[in-house]
Assembly symmetry: C2
Homo-oligomer: 291 residues x 2
């Protein structure tokens, strides 16, 4: 069986699936210290007949297989987890082929194989929530470089004179200007308490539209799927597409970027389990790396 | 033998090379109308023993092999060439496997195999001259999406109140703010007539530094090589690196993006022949697509 872990900031979801990627058993564990959480993860998987394990986890994390610290969680606000090597911990306990990648790359894989990316050449998956992250899959492979992408931190043109952004590292990068926390910083309340016609959505629609253009000009994806709590507001989602078209200004003539924009920029097909299902595809790919 | 064409706005350079990619014969033809230029291209190659042909050409061009218009030059200011299908024209005359890509992807390939990218996982090649373009090669493959990248047109944060950018489509995109023409638009003279301490270089260094961060966060390349007339000024090149570091602000801890920045952002190793040599590698890859 394939084993998958979606490792998030509030919970770890672990599962087992058959060869058709059908989940047959699952459990949810609170994200506390590595000692607490991982001992429960080990308990769940121990004694099971596991062919390979995939982990879709929050970043930043070392995903360079040639590095000695492959699987080490890097500089994260989740302080108990900084410098914890989840690859080594799992390998020691379970001794099966393991493949580790980011949660957003996991979700991108899920959409590529089982979602709106099916039959498409490539999928860019973006989540806009507490933070902003993205994963990219092309021809069935997660497209990391020498590190995983950190696309949420690209710079955007500000449209506000009185707001400098909330990113502690870059201030007015995309995440600093368009994540959920930025809404709270401007308005003092969460986005779901604001009306659909609040001007903050015009700003966020603008910044995300700029980013969609940047991603398109650099990666030329076949489809972009946007999930996460902030993007769930439909009036905002329309602004993403309108601003993408406005900024592109007809520059690339490919039909995906012109007459098919409503099919190019969409909500994901898979909901909460996208990262977990992606972890199972990561497990399958682990067999290519480790026998 | 492998045949290569570097097709530029002022000249087409054609060559033949042996199996070690050593150029054994070459010619230069002025870029006039397709009729004029291509008839001379055909004359050069006809009767030669050609295994495959690679073409590194100005864009935009359809590089989707599954499209009916593969090899068609798209909306270009070189009006005589708009809608000309260079793939079909060459295929009709020479009937060998052909592979067409952009000039910057050709230069990236050349650097990957014979330049500073040798032994590296991926190469991002950027040219900053009359316009701004970039090509990306990873694991020996040109990384196009459903179109070739147009990375010169990403948006950047403006630092000037009295200059709106020269891009006819996006105004203040990177190309609009940092290409050679933007220097002329600001100062009324070409960049090589300005002192090394002119403030325009501070602006251009800033915009390019922003773009280097954006490319890094999205592609995570192993090395970035910057060519083109504008970048040749060494004091400006230093500003690219300084601004990259300033904007990254230590965000990614990978050594390539921190202590190794002087080796991460460099001039290309290959000079004027980079595109032509890249065309030869494109020719070699044509054998994977067409037998």
């Amino acid at each position: 069986m394939f084993a998958g872990i979606e490792a998030g900031g509030t919970k770890f979801v672990c599962c087992l699936a058959d060869d058709n990627m059908k989940i047959v058993e699952r459990t949810t564990i609170a994200t506390k210290t590595p000692d607490y959480t991982m001992s429960k993860v080990f308990d769940f998987f121990k004694g099971k007949d596991i062919e390979a394990l995939g982990v879709a986890i929050f970043g930043p994390i070392d995903i360079d297989r040639e590095s000695d610290s492959y699987g080490k969680i890097l500089n994260t606000p989740k302080l108990a987890w900084a410098n914890y090597n989840i690859y080594k911990a799992l390998k020691n306990e379970l001794n099966v082929p393991i493949n580790i990648d980011t949660d957003v790359n996991g979700a991108a894989l899920c959409e590529y194989y089982e979602g709106h990316g099916k039959g498409r050449k490539s999928v860019l998956y973006i989540t806009i929530g507490t933070g902003i992250g993205a994963g990219f899959v092309m021809d069935g492979q997660v497209r990391n470089g020498i590190t995983h992408p950190e696309m949420g931190h690209i710079l955007v043109q500000s449209r506000e004179e009185d707001f400098e952004g909330v990113c502690p590292i870059h201030k007015n990068c995309l995440e600093g200007m368009a994540c959920g926390e930025s809404v709270f910083a401007r308005c003092g309340v969460r986005g779901d308490k604001l009306g659909a016609d609040h001007e903050v959505w015009d700003y966020i629609g603008d910044y995300v539209g700029q980013a969609l253009m940047t991603y398109t000009l650099i990666l030329a994806p076949d489809i972009i799927l946007i999930g996460g709590g902030v993007s769930r507001q439909e009036q905002l989602f329309e602004k993403f597409k309108l601003n993408f078209k406005k900024y592109m200004n007809g520059y690339l003539s490919h039909k995906r970027y012109t007459q098919e924009v409503d099919d190019y920029i969409k909500y994901p097909k898979n909901g909460q389990d996208a990262g977990l299902i992606g972890a199972l595809y990561l497990a399958k790919k682990a067999l290519d790396y480790e026998k």
